[in-house]
Amino acid sequence: MSARTLTVDGKQISAEKGASVLQAATEAGIKIPTLCHLEGVYDVGACRLCLVEVKGVNKLLPACTTRVAEGMEVSTNSERLNKYRRMTLELLFAERNHVCAVCVANGHCELQTLAYSLGMDHVRYDYIFPKWDVDNTHRLFGMDHNRCILCTRCVRSCWHIEGAGTKNVAGRGTKSKIITDLNQPWGDSESCTECGKCVMSCPTGALFKKGSAVGESVRDRDKLEFIVNAREKKQWNA
């Protein structure tokens, strides 16, 4: 296995031949923001957050799909890159309905975390407020398209780790949608193995285990009255 030496943010590092710039940087302790990247599935270079500047190349390159080369000089943290990253996040927040306060992923959402870490504290674009539905037909899981950022991590893990090929993308542009089988309700899917890998992959609250949604955390106050009645009046009927 031959190695390549390159410079990332002024730091000389070495990486295995064939490694991505993202892998090389991560190994050297340099953090590059990512969203569509997921360890274990192949990269598609779609979210554009890991774009880096490479000396001698006039285009910005995604760190996840760009291979290291000998003598490469990479810059991952310029003011321009961070501005583009913040704008990308703003576009995402405006695109669908990302309402953190009532989201199942609040506090452990990659989109939210990135917004904090990159300093995206407000959205300057008009919110689109599209009306997307929630697919709650599956026995164990749910899909809220309002929270989806179309990173396709679920699709890739479904096809390439589980091998079920249940999830896919339909439509195009901003109307793209993650679908189950031939755009059927998830609960009717015959190919879904209920493995839950898609839910594990989701960076936001789009895919979730049932029972974790804010709306589902209802208090069972009737139980209190029942206990009191049982204790004091010896009444056992609810």
Binding site: R48, K83, L91, Y125, G171, T174, S176
Partner: protein, 543 residues
């Protein structure tokens, strides 16, 4: 099949021709005005007037002057062709009667009109002359000779050299040197290589490739076969959009005929060279004209682009080295092989060689297809060949390159049409769509039109293109509705920069161009619509 057999087919076909040939344009444009009925009536009239010994009615491809269609051309009566314009099916009798010297009141075109006179035809040389559904017609004008010459007299590397020498650059729009691309694929290691012809022409107002495919399908097939020989491939795919049914059916006929004569298939011209071509039909996505998305589509997957590198020349279709060129690029190859790369390089400018086909549309008198040498001033195309704007209006701007291009204002009409000059003006050569706008056109509306197009056609894979075009369209709508302020315009410009620099593929990277070029030359039209800045920061607070 050997060269003697090919020549015999040509001679027999030429000998069978009649004295007078009545050519009826049967391309998509004229077909939409009942060209099929015109041809049927012409054939009937020939028999009725007992002229069938001397007169044949021929189906031909696009004659170019689409705005004057349906067109009927007559050879063999006068020294020059007689061109009937705006023909209706009921005019057929009078046309045939005119062959006997009868007077007609029908509209007769001028073959010396600058629209024709200023053209240099290489790609469209046979367009409107031969029957696209008869391989004998193509062979009779020297078809498949170049393939024979390449296979029997040239080494593959010599073919690549000849194309390199010609200076041909990709006609799909980006202008990458074709010879360099061929050389890279030829040198890429791999037992299996593919040839792809990109016929997914989708720019609004562009119909160059459509016309080439409908008028001269064998020219493209022959170019592909020569390319396959040069790079060491035995399988080609012709990717044509489903919206071009006539092109698809003529290509199917052409492939069948070429296979029947052994000009495609195994052991072509009794050499060890094999080459097969299959048609793949696009399902309506503009982005599938982007080469990596096109290859995904050919593989049967969702047509979305992937990052480059790796480039198709190294890892393309099914992971194999792939040569992908545009229809017009392939259509130039036979002429280059026949007449030599030096001859081709003698046409055009220093960096842009040869000719380019343009589809001239919009607010212009003479709508149609033209093929002109590179470097011709835009003014000659628009004002002389195109005749300028109709109804006494002034030409305000010329849009080239479709949604990836820009609007060139009238004061730059003297710019020579070549890759570098158009790029310098903030537009691109593109695939050849040329939309002329007159002084009634609102440039902000134009920018919005193209932005809406890009938004609709974005595949949705990368965020800047998917969500960025949506927001840019919103901002343009806001400006048009006189609800935007200076701050919104700044936001629009900032988004243009971001989407251009961060999008994954060419669609997103060039989507801001119509906005950027109209802002560059017609900024006042934007500013006139702006409202004064309101109190407050005008920003939406995040949750």
């Amino acid at each position: 099949m050997q060269i003697e057999d090919l020549n015999a087919i040509a001679e027999k076909h030429i000998a069978s021709r009649k004295k007078i040939i009545v050519r009826t344009c049967m391309s998509a444009g004229c077909m939409s005005s009942r060209a099929d009925a015109i041809k049927a009536n012409l054939e009937k009239a020939v028999i009725e007037q007992q002229l069938d010994a001397d007169v044949e009615v021929r189906r031909v491809g696009c004659m170019g002057f689409c705005g004057q269609g349906p067109l009927v051309g007559i050879d063999g009566v006068k020294e020059k062709e007689i061109l009937f314009e705006h023909i209706k099916p009921e005019d057929a009798e009078a046309i045939i009667a005119s062959l006997k010297g009868m007077q007609t009141n029908l509209e007769i075109g001028d073959p010396d009109h600058p629209f024709f006179a200023k053209q240099t035809k290489i790609v469209r040389a046979n367009g409107g002359i031969i029957d696209p559904e008869k391989i004998e017609d193509y062979i009779a004008v020297g078809g498949y000779e170049a393939l024979h010459n390449a296979l029997t007299e040239m080494q593959p590397a010599q073919v690549v050299d000849e194309v390199t020498k010609s200076g041909l650059r990709g006609r799909g729009g980006a202008g990458f040197p074709t010879g360099l691309k061929w050389g890279t694929v030829a040198k890429s290691p791999g037992a299996k290589k593919y040839i792809i012809c990109n016929g997914d022409e989708g720019d609004p107002g562009a119909f160059m490739d459509r016309s080439v495919l409908e008028s001269d399908p064998h020219l493209v097939l022959e170019g592909m076969a020569i390319a396959a020989y040069a790079v060491g491939s035995d399988q080609g795919f012709l990717y044509v959009r489903a919206e071009y049914p006539l092109a698809i059916s003529r290509l199917q006929i052409a492939i069948k005929q070429a296979k029947a004569l052994g000009l495609l298939g195994s052991g072509i011209f009794e050499t060890p060279f094999n080459f097969n071509v299959d048609i793949r039909i696009g399902a309506g996505a503009f982005v599938c004209g982007e080469e990596t998305a096109l290859m995904m589509s050919v593989e049967g997957k969702r047509g979305t682009p992937r990052p480059r590198p790796p480039f198709p020349a190294e890892s393309g279709l099914f992971g194999c080295p792939t040569l992908i060129n545009n229809v017009e690029s392939f259509a130039n190859i036979t002429a280059i092989i026949k007449k030599g790369g030096d001859w081709y390089a003698g046409i055009g400018t220093e960096k842009s060689k040869g000719t380019k086909v343009f589809a001239l549309t919009g607010k212009i008198k003479n709508t149609g297809l033209i093929e002109v040498p590179m470097g011709i001033p835009l003014r000659q195309i628009v004002m002389e060949m195109g005749g300028g704007a109709p109804d006494g209006r002034q030409v305000k701007s010329v849009q080239t390159g479709g949604p990836s291009g820009g609007c060139i204002p009238a004061e730059f009409l003297d710019t020579p049409v070549d890759y570098e000059s158009l790029m310098k003006l903030g537009s691109i050569m593109g695939s050849g769509g040329m939309v002329v706008m007159d002084d009634t056109t609102n440039m902000v509306e134009i920018a919005k039109f193209y932005m809406e197009f890009c938004k609709d056609e974005s595949c949705g894979k990368c965020i800047p293109c998917r969500a960025g075009t949506t927001q840019m369209e919103n901002l343009l709508n806001k400006i048009i509705a006189r609800q935007a302020t200076r701050r919104d315009l700044a936001k629009l410009e900032e988004l243009c920069d971001m989407v251009k620099n961060t999008s994954l593929c060419g669609l997103g990277q060039t989507a801001p161009n119509p906005v950027l070029s109209t802002l560059k030359y017609f900024r006042n039209e934007y500013e006139e619509l702006l409202q004064p800045d309101t109190f407050g920061p005008g920003v939406t607070a995040m949750k």
